[in-house]
Subunit: 269 residues, 2 copies
């Protein structure tokens, strides 16, 4: 297993922020990334559709003999995880929710935690429920807010536009009086906006789901003695998309600190 690749999938390109955290922590691993760009976004789709798409992505990665599946998509982590686990069999699955919920719990001193995500993620209450399990605070309280415009703002590279600030101020105003000390960015696009979010909500610790998940990936690989045993001079990433690869990656490239390879077409839908 040691030198098998890690399979990572997302509905589109947001999961590249998770890949970015993975390669920082585990630069010697091999990665296969699949973006379901023919059907992106998933956040506005029904639960049964999200389950079906999640299963198809997992099966594609399983055919590549991966040693682990990383569900780099909050919507799939909230709503499609059982179909991923079923398709993955005995291969470990790391999703976005539990590691980030634990990181948020550990970060919070006063037990007041904010969660921002897509409508589907917020509506699922997946993060709220996961955080609530750590009920050691008498006053544990989770405040949730959907920020649906953040994804198109990131995808259109408008994070520095004055309108982005207005929209962010509007969405985040619900946290002004909540006294939260920790904000969980429950969408893989949001780390690209963390500078703006920190400007509006200073002195609040931001939890990046990709960062938290990467630590779990590291721990599982280490426990199983599955860490790749060779040092790599350059990152090993294979990139697949369900739609014909087009210039959609150019925006992603502006956000990443490493080189993305050319994408190949994955025929799963």
């Amino acid at each position: 297993m040691k030198n098998s690749p890690i399979g990572v999938f997302d509905s589109g390109i947001g999961g590249l922020s998770v890949l970015s955290e993975l390669v920082k922590l585990l630069p010697n691993e091999e990665y296969i990334y699949l973006g379901d760009t023919a059907r992106v976004p998933w956040g506005n789709k029904s639960i049964s559709t999200i389950k079906e798409y999640s299963r198809e992505c997992t099966e594609f990665l399983m055919d590549k003999d991966v040693k682990m599946i990383v569900v780099a998509c909050n919507t799939a982590s909230s709503l499609g995880i059982d179909s991923v686990q079923h398709a993955a069999g005995k291969i470990p699955v790391v999703e976005m929710i539990l590691p980030a919920a634990e990181a948020a719990y550990k970060s919070s001193v006063n037990g007041k935690i904010g969660v921002i995500g897509t409508k589907a993620t917020v509506r699922s209450n997946a993060y709220q429920n996961a955080i609530a399990k750590y009920n050691t605070f008498d006053n544990l309280k989770v405040f949730q807010q959907a920020c649906p415009l953040f994804v198109p703002i990131v995808e259109e590279a408008m994070i520095k536009h004055p309108a982005a600030k207005l929209i962010a101020e509007d969405y985040l105003s619900v946290f002004k009086d909540s006294n939260i000390d920790t904000l969980l960015l429950a969408c893989t696009h949001y780390p690209f906006m963390s500078e703006l979010i920190a400007e509006i909500l200073p002195n609040i610790r931001l939890i990046d789901t990709g960062n938290a998940a990467s630590r779990q990936v590291f721990n599982i690989l280490k426990e199983n003695d599955w860490l790749h045993d060779q040092i790599k001079d350059k990152l090993s990433i294979e990139l697949y998309c369900t739609d014909t690869p087009s210039d959609f990656l150019s925006t992603a490239r502006t956000y990443l600190s490493f080189e993305l390879p050319q994408a190949k077409k994955a025929d799963i839908c």
Copy 2:
């Protein structure tokens, strides 16, 4: 044919602005509307994917014995029209581009016309090419601008948000010195923003693709003597979605002046 329904499809709910124009002009017709909500949006997908989705939507409507197909989607009209026509056989197809290009040409006095749409529509140059065919102005000039944030702004019911104005002013600033007298709204979502657009670009005539297409639908039905021959006391609309019908329609309802029925599931993907 007279009393057969008219089939209308779109990638999602934007085409309801076209349906809205159709029922204004032809209230006695029966309509079957299909929104491909399981795979919305199409504007960021490849041409081959758009052709495939367009064919599947057309085949669904053909199975319902429609007398006409209305492609209430600018992306499909720009990039998927040949696969619609192939699947429709002898049934007439009305798309968004030619009727609106003609309306824009007829509206313009100085031959300077603006076109706004999704990235895919603008990149296809479909409207620019269609307008250019009416080359009776010595100085005919088409100015194009993609406005990718407009669709999520409409879908999030944020058209009155200050950020919407900032974004619209930014996108539309390219027209300030162009001296256009006509602006073609080449996306079915944009008519819902026409008040804001008119505020930023006063004294410019806005061309609504749904309105222009509806006139062509009327003319074709009349020429063929296919106009529905019974007066209806209430609108006859059947609504299908490819995803499980959910609350995505609630925003659409806020924009429409007529009642939408409950949506049924269309199993085409």
